[in-house]
Subunit: 346 residues, 2 copies
């Protein structure tokens, strides 16, 4: 993760990196939300005149027509092979912008500056770029590593609490994949202080967990499946919610998924029950109560269609204890239905 830079002054760091990389001009990609809330923290003087590209905010704009729009702007405004694209925003901007850069003239360089907690602890690492297509998330994309990722938690001061919680679910996951100490520290977090200097090292530790796993398996062929923890059930809940037009964040779905999959870990791999209960209580206290988006039976069907399943049954990443995961655990229908019941408050 030596290309991930942690700072309290993203603007200064961006200037340093632009000096180091000496591109033939740079372009700034963001969205209208970022322009309204994040640009003052970065510094308005870093917006290159005539080379600022602005998207509409939100996952529904992570589309091929919008990538085409970025390519048009780059091409029409004279971007060269040696130019550079700065992606400033949440995961939609960094995923879409990273994809656009990786294909423009067969690849120009980019710098990512994630401005949401989710993008800082998750999308910042791993070299995945992409857009949604044909109703499927990240159906089109590339593996492409940015020149650097600049992480500044000062941007989080303007992030709505619900969006902070969305990113925090990935931090809980990373802590579970790390060790007991990391988990204990995460469970003492006060998210109202997310933009404070003291919070930056926590982000750094969280990113380090993901980076270590990704480095061991850059093209997602084995070990990287560890990162699916909480996501098999989480994706089913998220997919069902989206299909019904319900308002649920990615992190909420993952947080519920973590509870259910830890319960499976207790049942199948002997994960410590007290630890499971503590994490469950912590999540149920921090996150909104789960209101079932579908029956457990219907959610099970969603899981069966998850693209990560390579044979019959549902494939999970589960834990023996914090830091000791097991990939490719197949669980049967009864256990999964039971696990889904654990998400609901007593």
């Amino acid at each position: 993760m030596n290309n991930i830079l942690f700072t309290r002054d993203a603007g200064l760091e961006l200037q340093r990196q632009l000096e180091r990389l000496a591109p033939a001009g740079y372009f700034l990609l963001s969205d209208t939300y970022v322009r309204a809330y994040c640009l003052s923290h970065l510094g308005h003087d870093l917006v290159p005149p005539g080379r600022s590209i602005t998207l509409s905010p939100g996952e529904k704009y992570k589309t091929l027509p919008n990538v085409g729009f970025v390519w048009e702007r780059l091409s029409a405004d004279g971007a060269k092979r040696n130019s550079l694209l700065v992606n400033l925003g949440g995961g939609v901007v960094t995923d879409l912008g990273g994809f656009a850069a990786s294909c423009f003239k067969r690849g120009i360089r980019c710098i990512n500056i994630p401005t949401t907690l989710l993008a800082q602890v998750d999308a910042s690492v791993g070299g995945k770029t992409g857009i949604d297509f044909n109703g499927l998330k990240n159906e089109i994309g590339t593996f492409a590593t940015p020149e650097c990722v600049i992480i500044d938690n000062g941007f989080l001061a303007t992030l709505p609490p619900r969006q902070l919680l969305s990113g925090f679910a990935e931090m809980i996951k990373h802590a579970l994949l790390a060790d007991e100490q990391h988990l204990a520290d995460i469970m003492r977090v006060d998210l109202s202080q997310a933009a404070s200097p003291e919070f930056l090292p926590l982000i750094q530790r969280s990113v380090a967990v993901k980076a270590a796993i990704v480095d061991a398996d850059p093209l997602e062929q084995g070990e990287r499946k560890a990162l699916n923890l909480g996501h098999t059930i989480g994706h089913a809940i998220e997919g069902a919610a989206i299909s019904k037009g319900l308002d649920l964040t990615h992190g909420e779905a993952v947080a519920y998924g973590i509870i259910a999959e830890l319960w499976l870990s207790v049942r199948l791999l002997g994960f410590d029950r007290a630890c499971y209960e503590a994490v469950r209580a912590f999540i149920l206290e921090k996150y909104p109560p789960y209101s079932p988006v579908e029956t457990p039976a219907a959610l099970y069907e969603w899981m069966l269609h998850d693209k990560k399943n390579e044979r019959e049954g549902v494939n999970f990443t589960l834990l023996r204890e914090p830091g000791r995961f097991e990939t490719d655990c197949y669980c049967d229908r009864e256990d999964i239905l039971q696990a889904l019941l654990q998400i609901q408050p007593a």
Copy 2:
């Protein structure tokens, strides 16, 4: 070039490779021209039912909407990460299909089966994929190597003579970049025999020249510029012709470019004048007479705007003798105008 397979039976070789790679189903991309003229040679039984994707033929369809069409078909028809795309056709199909495969689910495997001489000796090597965008050739694309390239000159039996000549210009270029013997052999070629067993080794030798240069410089940072021989002036002629709606093939433009750039080689690097005269006479005999698409002065302006120019002036790859090239040769306006006069028959 160990992933390039030369054969007289592309269908049999494709079957072998599909057995070796064992994809979760394969898709066949081609165009209506290929379906009409090349499928009988490959074998109709190799068209996977319900998984055949057909484009309209020609460079003007090498577009983003057509890539979107391929992605839609792959996605809707259940292509998985482990699926494979077979690109059967000329350079448009292999470039566009290679790009589509490299981004679908962040990259699925592909096999290229080039059916034109130009695609066999040029587009088959080098790992470049791409589409035209915003009026610029290959403005969007990736570097991505196919699992293998199957080259069978039996496909050339149905290729119009003018299309054969278009690919042959790249073979002349490769011979000039190789050595005197290769050049002598190329100048004895009878293109009416291009589909015969005896011609296949000539294609193989031509591909080997390009492969050696590309292997030394996969990301086009230096040595690969050797392949620009004939193309600086060739691209200017081609660009001017396209902008005026004139009917000129890529290879015709390159053949004229080779004459002009060899003349510059004589003048600036002491290339042997007798050898230059022999190549010039050979090209003028094989190719249609050059009818000026623009004044020399206007063509010079086209060169100034070529994307490969990194500083003022026009940058050429020139030859000291067959096989000894020099990249980054800057030529002045007077010499270039003079060189352009050499293309016209006496």
